[in-house]
Amino acid sequence: MSHKLLIVGAGQAAAQAVQSLRTEGFDGAITLIGEEPYGPYQRPPLSKAYLLGTFERERLFLKSDAFYREADCELLLNCRAAVLHRAQKTVELADGRRLGYDTLLLATGTRVRRLKCPGAQLVGVHYLRDIADVDELRKIFITGKRIAIVGGGFIGLEVAAVAVKRGLQVTVFEAMDRLMARSVSRPVSEFFAAEHTRAGVKLLLRTGVEAIEGNGKVERLRAGGETYDADMVLVGIGVLPNDELATHAGLASQDGIVVDRHGRTGDPAIFAAGDCTRHIGREGSAIRLECVQNAIDQAKYCALAIAGKPRNYSEVPWFWSDQYDLKLQIAGIARQTDHAVLRGDPYSRKFAIFHLRDGVIAAVESINAAPDYMLGKKWIGENLRIDPGRLADSSIPIKQIA
């Protein structure tokens, strides 16, 4: 009997796992279960070019139908995995069907965190996670309309940039004292705040939304004691890992299904990859990442382990965001660093900030400075010690720094 591999979830990690499993020589049966009507697609363009309307839906899909046929991978779409029965090695679908497995890969991703204030259920309150969300949003993305964006993170700010381009009036409400506080350092937050303000976005920091009001649909927001008129609300306040299938079956989750360096959960027959997992990062502490890189790489490492060639995961995480003509690229994790080095001039809209820990480079944030990002990422992987003085000296070409 051929080995049965079941993948729950149909995102970036799932698509990569199918490809890598076949590349690594796995010859068992592969079945992929997805809740959406679509096979795996790229999410990053959703809040950018797809929302703007310059990128057709067809282009979002990561693989062609022929790919799954050739990979002999069965796609079960519009299917929700409801219960995991570990003792029987079966997954029960919402429609009652049961699918057996020898090996299970959980690639369940995340779901949006919902706003809880009064009025959050009104018509006109939108979230941005999947194709259907953006298709709805696009219908009302009309010049002159007023959009209130709740949350000044990547999603909120990317939508703000597209909305400005579309001629909407944009207000961003952020509860923290700076933008993208979870993802970037303060100088980068401040640089982007200035750019959004210059583009015409009204930025309200330290301003939590208290209520959304309207007669059946969104008409205004109350925030920081003031009232703001709005035609629509877009909420981007983070995501939560879809770990219930795992936890209800007794697998450990700490804001993310706990996996080891091979991507394996506490059950030797069950792996997990992507945004839904918490793994031991290369710096030794447990971390849950929300990024394409981690989805791709964890899927590759799971495939290696499943194919009997396990390797320890220790990739440098990387992230990017496009806002206006600014490309923000980040590698590494800047937490618990003790020294930041600016290279380049923010006024030229092209610079990088390197973050060091005990003299060793731990993270880089670059804006329109791809070479700094690429080299920074390489140095992080090498745990390279760099002279901060040389790094800051932009008269020395970046390739001659180390």
């Binding site: 990053p44 050739e70 791709i296 990387w318 990017w320 496009d322 791809a370 070479p371 080299l375 390739k399």
Partner: protein
């Protein structure tokens, strides 16, 4: 549709139809051409969709932008005919284009 031929490092040829407006990278990835990773999905953020363009076709291509040039600097074993396939938009004029894929993208 433009017919694009990809040749892998071991000489395997694959000709695929790519819709005008799509990038060369998308044409490869969607048609399961192996050897083009394109980890970032076409954002010019990873340099893992490197190809060598048949020299005869180089003049037909749009010039490299600064960011493509900068990113290419970090691809493995580049040559004067190196391009990032995510940055080449396919048009009917590129019907018949031939590109070669490097041994590795990482």
């Amino acid at each position: 549709m433009a017919k694009i031929t990809f040749i892998t490092h071991d000489g395997k040829e694959q000709t695929v139809d790519v819709a005008p407006g799509w990038s060369l990278m998308e044409g490869a990835v969607k048609n399961h051409v192996s050897g083009i990773d394109a980890d970032c999905g076409g954002a010019c953020a990873c340099a893992t969709c490197h190809v060598y363009v048949d020299p005869a076709w180089l003049p037909a291509l749009p010039p490299k932008t600064d960011i493509e040039d900068a990113m290419l600097d970090f691809a493995l074993v580049t040559a004067p005919n190196s391009r990032l396939s995510c940055q080449i938009r396919v048009t009917s004029e590129l019907d018949g284009l031939v590109v070669r894929i490097p041994v590795s993208q990482h």
